[in-house]
């Protein structure tokens, strides 16, 4: 099934953009972060990137065409021969004067659509009309700030220097940072805990399971999975003005390999046992080291754990991964005391929610 790339909004007041340049040929295999095409308005331009790995199947416009914001501008498939759904994003003349209902209005915002793009069945634009449009056009909700893109700055530094393109990893980080800064309302807090009980627990677990590798950090990550199961509100994100509570705990875990930072994702982590989780995380870490992670192993995180203990970092304030509400910041522990922190999206969680989460987390066996 091909997936769509939506036309980004560059400026608040512009509902269309021009396709200024195609950067890859149809049929090209692209990876997340690869640059696909450039769109522009009179005020700014923006480069659209691939969000997933796949083959560029089609671009629904030609250079110079005007395209509706939120419409499908390109299609990517897992094979180069997939059939592209028939959909054009070029400006159409389907104008309706129908007033949208409240639910329709929310859907319009969620998908970056305007009521004038949609034909209404009656004199009021209903949610069913919008859903029909979404379905027939194969659209996906605007998921992150890549779709509400920050325009490229047009001013260059006055000090001479070289300008080089960002790597795909740097593009990925840029997307994350932009979501964190433009959409979330991040806050951070940390609490102290007794590291000795965790060490004992991990040592017993390692011995019981005859593990070669110390499972301490993996078990600390697992504890957060258990808490997310019990307290689904921390495994959520905000869509429009509604809380979207995820059905599954897709657990993100940061892995630094040389210069690259991955967030590997254990999908449906809530369905695993502790030892299954530890082993799955180990597999993903090894795959990251070999640079053979599949796209579904680095996407879709719903809650994240980031450890910098290895480098003796005593405090770090991580940025939120797009569409998550919580990332736990794990740091190095002293012999008798340690701190565990978390960055959270204050639109969804308050300090007390996070304090409770971290207090529960500090007890290895949940007692």
């Amino acid at each position: 099934m091909p997936f769509s790339i939506l036309t980004p909004r560059i400026n608040n007041n512009d509902d269309t953009v021009r396709l200024s340049k195609l950067l890859v040929a149809i049929g090209t295999l692209v990876r997340p972060g690869d640059l696909l095409l450039e769109v522009e308005t009179d005020k700014a331009s923006y480069t659209v990137e691939a969000e997933k790995e796949g083959y560029l199947l089609a671009v629904n416009a030609q250079e110079g065409d005007t395209v509706d914001v939120g419409s499908v501008i390109a299609w990517i498939g897992t094979t180069p021969h997939e059939i592209v759904p028939t959909q054009k994003g070029i400006v159409t003349n389907q104008v309706t004067s129908a007033e949208p209902s409240l639910k329709a209005r929310m859907l319009l915002a969620q998908y970056g659509l305007k009521s004038s793009q949609i034909l209404s069945s009656v004199d009021k634009l209903t949610a069913a009309d919008v859903e029909h449009h979404i379905r027939t056009h194969g659209m996906e909700p605007l998921r992150n700030s890549a779709h509400f893109a920050r325009a490229k700055t047009s001013t260059s530094p006055s000090t001479p220097g070289r300008t080089v393109p960002l790597t795909p990893e740097q593009h990925g980080m840029l997307r994350t940072v932009q979501w964190h800064s433009q959409e979330a309302v991040p806050a951070f807090l940390e609490v102290s805990y007794d590291p000795a009980s965790w060490k004992r627990y991990a040592a017993d677990f390692q011995k019981a399971n005859r593990l070669m590798i110390d499972p301490l950090v993996s078990l600390k990550a697992w504890r957060l999975v258990e808490i997310a199961k019990q307290r689904p509100e921390i495994n959520a994100t905000l869509v429009g003005d509604q809380k979207h509570i995820y059905d599954h705990v897709n657990f993100g875990f940061t892995v630094q390999v040389g210069e690259k930072l991955y967030v590997v994702v254990v999908r449906k982590a809530e369905s695993l046992t502790a030892i299954e989780f530890v082993k799955r995380l180990g597999e993903l870490q090894r795959a990251a080291m070999k640079d053979i992670l599949r796209p579904d192993e680095t996407s879709g995180a719903t809650i994240v754990f980031s450890s910098m203990a290895r480098w003796n970092v005593t405090r770090h304030i991580p940025i939120l991964v797009p569409q998550t509400a919580l990332i736990v910041a794990h740091t190095t522990a002293g012999p008798t005391t340690a701190c565990i922190g978390a960055t959270y999206d204050h639109r969804l969680l308050n300090g007390w929610d996070v304090v409770r989460t971290l207090a529960d987390w500090s007890k290895p066996e949940g007692n």
């Binding site: 590798i213 799955r280 180990g282 090894r286 070999k290």
Partner: protein, 84 residues
């Protein structure tokens, strides 16, 4: 030419050095995780290095103390996997 034993030993020394530890005195029967010379990420890197250097597929389930705890057990495991 280095023996398999010497090659693995050299790799462990290199990984430990990256963490500020000196593993030159490590014996073939020393249980590596108990020495604290390598942290979990370095141990994982060691397993991955063994996998690629000696062209063996290593299941996550195989990464046990029995199979990888010492240099001697690593060599035995690799041998069992494909006759080293």
């Amino acid at each position: 030419m280095q023996t398999v034993q010497e090659t693995i030993h050299a790799k462990i020394v290199q990984l430990a050095k990256g963490l500020g530890n000196d593993a030159r005195g490590l014996l073939d029967d020393t249980v590596i995780p108990e020495t604290g010379l390598l942290d979990s990420a370095a141990l994982m890197e060691l397993v991955m290095w063994l996998e690629t250097t000696y062209n063996r597929d290593i299941d996550q389930d195989d990464i046990t103390i029995e199979n990888f705890g010492t240099i001697r057990s690593m060599i035995a495991f690799l041998g069992r996997k494909q006759g080293l």
